[in-house]
Amino acid sequence: MNKTFTIIKREYLSRVRKKSFIVMTILGPLLMAALMIVPVFIARMSDSVYEVAIVDDTRLFSREFVDANNVKFTDINIDVDSAIELMKANKFDAVLHIPATAFQAPSTLRLFTEKAINMNAKLYMESILRNEFELMKLAHAGIDPEVLKATETKISITAIRMLRDGHEQTDYPEVSMGLGIFGGILIYFFVFLFGAQVMRGVMEEKSNRIVEIIVSSVKPFQLMMGKIVGIAMVGLTQFLIWIFLTFAIVGAVSAAMPEVFRFTPQENIYTSSSQSLNPAEVQQQMQQIQQQNTPAGQIMEALRAINYKVMILSFIFYFLGGYLLYAALFAAIGSAVDNEADTQQFMLPITIPMIFSIVMAQMVMNNPAGPVAFWLSIIPFTSPIIMMVRIPFGVPWFDLWLSVILLIAGFLGTTWLAAKIYRTGILMYGKKVSYKELWNWVRRTG
C-alpha cells in the first residue's frame, strides 16, 4: 500500500509539474472566455463601412434603406451605367439597381460590385425589400398592415416543474440541453485525454525498460493502479481548478457589469402580480419586467437554477468511474504493444462505445426519460457520458443508483481483466500481439 502511494505520488507530481499542465489548467478557462470575447472585438474593429449606391427607378423604396451597422446607403438619382462608373471610381462598394419592373418581377433586382459581395449587406438589403414588397402586396389586397401586426403573437410557454417537495421551479430545457451535452463532451474529452496518458505512460515504462526494475520491487498490479490513480488525481485537480476559475471569472464579470445581467425571475412576476386578476394587467406587467431582462441575464438565471452540487458531484463521479473503466483498458493496450502505431487495432473497442455515446446524446436529450436514455445511462460503457447528458434534466434516484452501482462493477471488471493482460504484456517485447493472445494472457493463471 505504501509503495502504491509512492507510485501515485510520482505519477501525480511528474504530471502536475509539467509546464503543459500548468498552462492548460490556468489558461484553459481564460482561453475559453477569450475565445468568446475576442471575435466580438475583432468584428467591431475590422469591418469598414460598406457603401451602397441605390439606383431606384421606381422611386418607391430608396427612403426605406436605413443605414445599419456597417452598411451605408446613398440614394443617387442617376442611371445605372453612370452609377457603375462611379463605383469603378471607388466612390461606392456596390450599386443596387431597382428597375421599374422590380415589384412585378423581383428577379430583375441587381446588385453590382467590383469586389467580392458583402453577404451581410446583401441579406440586409433583401430583408428590407422583402418587407416593403410584402407591405405593398398587403395594401394591394386591401389589408391594413396595422391589423396584421396586431394579430402577431409571440408565444413562449414557461415550463414549470412541480417538485416533490412542493417547490416550483422554472425549467429551461434549452439550458439543460446545453449543459447536458457540455458535461457529456467534457467526460468524453477527459476520459480520452487522461486514458491516453495512462496508455502512453505504460508504453513509456515498457519501451525505456524501466518496468523490469520496478516490478522487481512492486507487483505489476500496484504499478498499474498507481499510475491510473495518479493520473485520475491529475484530472480531478485540473477539473476543480477549472470550476473554481470559471466561477471566479463569471462572478467577477457579472459584478463588474450588472446591467448586462439584469434579470427578474418569472416566478417572482407571478407572485407579485397574483393579487391583480386582470389578465391584461398581468400581461403588461410581465412584458414590462421581461423587457428589462437581458439575454445574458436570462442565461445567468437559468444557470443559477441548476443544482450545481448534483452537477459537480455527478461529474466527478462519472468522470472517475468512466475514466477508471477505460483507463484500465488503456493500460492493458499500452502494455501489449511496443509502439504507438500498434495501438490502433486495440483502440477500436474503446473508441466505439465512446463515440456511440456522443452520437446518441442528441436522441437522449430529445427524450431524457425515455427507454434509450434509461438503458444507455445504466450500461457502464456508455453511462458516464449519457448520464451526464441526462442529469441536468433531472434523473430518478433509482436510475442514478443503478447506474452508479453498475459503473463501479464495470470498472472493477475491466481492471481485473486489464491487470491480467498488463502483467504479461509489460515483459513481452518484439512481438505483435493479437486479440487471441490477449485472451490467452487473461486466462493464464500465476
Partner: protein, 325 residues
C-alpha cells in the same frame, strides 16, 4: 554448505515454448554464482522467477532456507539486462523514488545515494534529467539503485554491457567488494572471461534444462583434455621419441634460453605421473603444468558437444538462431 537461494525442480511454460524444465539450482552464500547459457536458454525466465516477477508453473523456491515470499523482495537486488530509466525525470529524484520502492527510508536513501553518487562522480548530475546523461552514466545510476538497499542477494544480468573498460573495472572492483562484505551474487553473462575472473560457482542452462552445475575449478578439472605444458631442456632424443607412447606432442617451440616449451596430450591409459616418470631420464625438467580448458571452451563444448576448434559453421548457426523469450 549454506545456501542463500535454492530453486527446486522449476518448470515454466509459455504458450508454445518450454522455458524451464526441471531446473534446480543452489546458490551458496557469500560468493559469486555464474548463471550461464546461450540466448533463449531460459536464464532470464529463471531470474524473473527468483525476483518474483513471474511465478513458476511448478517447483519450490527458498531464500535462506525459508520459502520465498513477497517479504524477501527487499532483500534482493536486481539489475536486469534490458534496463532503463525515466528519461524526463531528474536523476536524483528518480534514484530516490526507486529506493523508496525498495522500502528504504527517504532520509537514509538520500544520504547513501549522495555517498554513492560521490563515489561514481555523479553528484553534479543529481538535478539533471536522465536523458542528459551518457549511457555509461545511466548504467552507473542503475547499478547504484540496485545495491542501495543493501540486499543480501544481488542479481546482475549482463552488468557490463554498455560500459567502457575503465568503468567495467570500477564495477568489477565494486562487485568484488560487495562479495567480500558478504553479499551473495548471481551473475548472468555471456562474457566467459569475466566468469573465470569472478565466479566461484556456475550453472549452465541450455534449451530450458540445466546441463552443468558446480564449482568453477572442479568443472574445469572435470573438463580436462589431458593437455599439459612441459618446460624441458637438454633433450637427449627427439621430442616424439621421448614422449612416445605416453603422450603426443601438439606443438612446441625452442626458447632462446635453451628451454623447450611443449604442449602435449597424454594418451588414454596414462596419467601425469606416468608422463613424468617416462620422460625424466631423457630431459632436464624446468616446469610442468596442466592446461585446463577455458570457460569459453567448456561452454561451447557443453552446449554444442564440440570444442570451438572442431566446430563447423553449420553447428554455430544452429545455436545462433534460438530466439529470445
Amino acid at each position: 554448505m549454506e545456501y542463500i537461494f535454492q530453486a527446486e525442480n522449476i518448470y515454466k511454460q509459455y504458450e508454445k515454448h518450454q522455458a524451464l524444465t526441471d531446473v534446480s539450482i543452489s546458490v551458496p552464500g557469500k560468493g559469486i554464482f555464474g548463471l550461464l547459457g546461450p540466448n533463449g536458454a531460459g536464464k532470464t525466465t529463471l531470474i524473473r522467477i527468483i525476483n518474483q516477477i513471474i511465478s513458476p508453473d511448478q517447483g519450490k523456491l527458498f531464500f535462506n532456507g525459508e520459502r520465498l515470499t513477497a517479504k524477501h523482495i527487499a532483500r534482493i537486488g536486481y539489475l536486469p539486462e534490458e534496463r532503463g530509466l525515466y528519461k524526463k525525470m531528474k536523476v536524483g529524484e528518480q534514484a530516490l523514488y526507486l529506493a523508496r520502492l525498495k522500502n528504504v527510508e527517504s532520509k537514509e536513501a538520500r544520504k547513501s545515494l549522495k555517498e554513492w553518487f560521490e563515489k561514481f562522480d555523479l553528484l553534479p548530475w543529481w538535478d539533471r534529467k536522465v536523458e542528459e546523461l551518457s549511457k555509461g552514466m545511466q548504467q552507473k545510476v542503475q547499478f547504484i539503485i540496485t545495491i542501495l538497499h543493501k540486499p543480501e542477494l544481488l542479481i546482475f544480468d549482463e552488468p557490463f554491457s554498455g560500459f567502457d573498460p575503465i568503468n567495467v573495472n570500477l564495477l568489477k572492483s565494486e562487485i568484488l567488494k560487495l562479495r567480500d562484505q558478504g553479499t551473495s551474487i548471481i551473475f548472468s553473462t555471456h562474457n566467459m572471461s569475466s566468469v573465470e575472473e569472478l565466479c566461484d560457482h556456475i550453472a549452465l542452462i541450455n534449451k530450458s534444462e540445466k546441463i552443468l552445475d558446480g564449482k568453477l575449478d572442479e568443472i574445469k578439472k572435470a573438463h580436462s583434455n589431458r593437455i599439459f605444458t612441459l618446460e624441458i631442456g637438454d633433450l637427449k632424443k627427439p621430442m616424439e621419441e621421448i614422449l612416445s607412447p605416453v603422450a603426443k606432442v601438439l606443438r612446441y617451440e625452442n626458447g632462446k634460453d635453451g628451454i623447450v616449451r611443449a604442449k602435449v596430450r597424454i594418451d588414454e591409459g596414462y596419467n601425469a605421473n606416468d608422463l613424468i616418470k617416462h620422460i625424466l631420464p631423457s630431459v632436464h625438467f624446468h616446469g610442468f603444468q596442466e592446461e585446463l580448458p577455458s570457460m569459453n571452451d567448456i561452454f561451447i563444448k557443453t552446449v554444442t558437444g564440440k570444442y570451438p576448434q572442431e566446430l563447423k559453421k553449420e553447428d554455430l548457426k544452429l545455436h545462433m538462431d534460438i530466439d529470445t523469450q
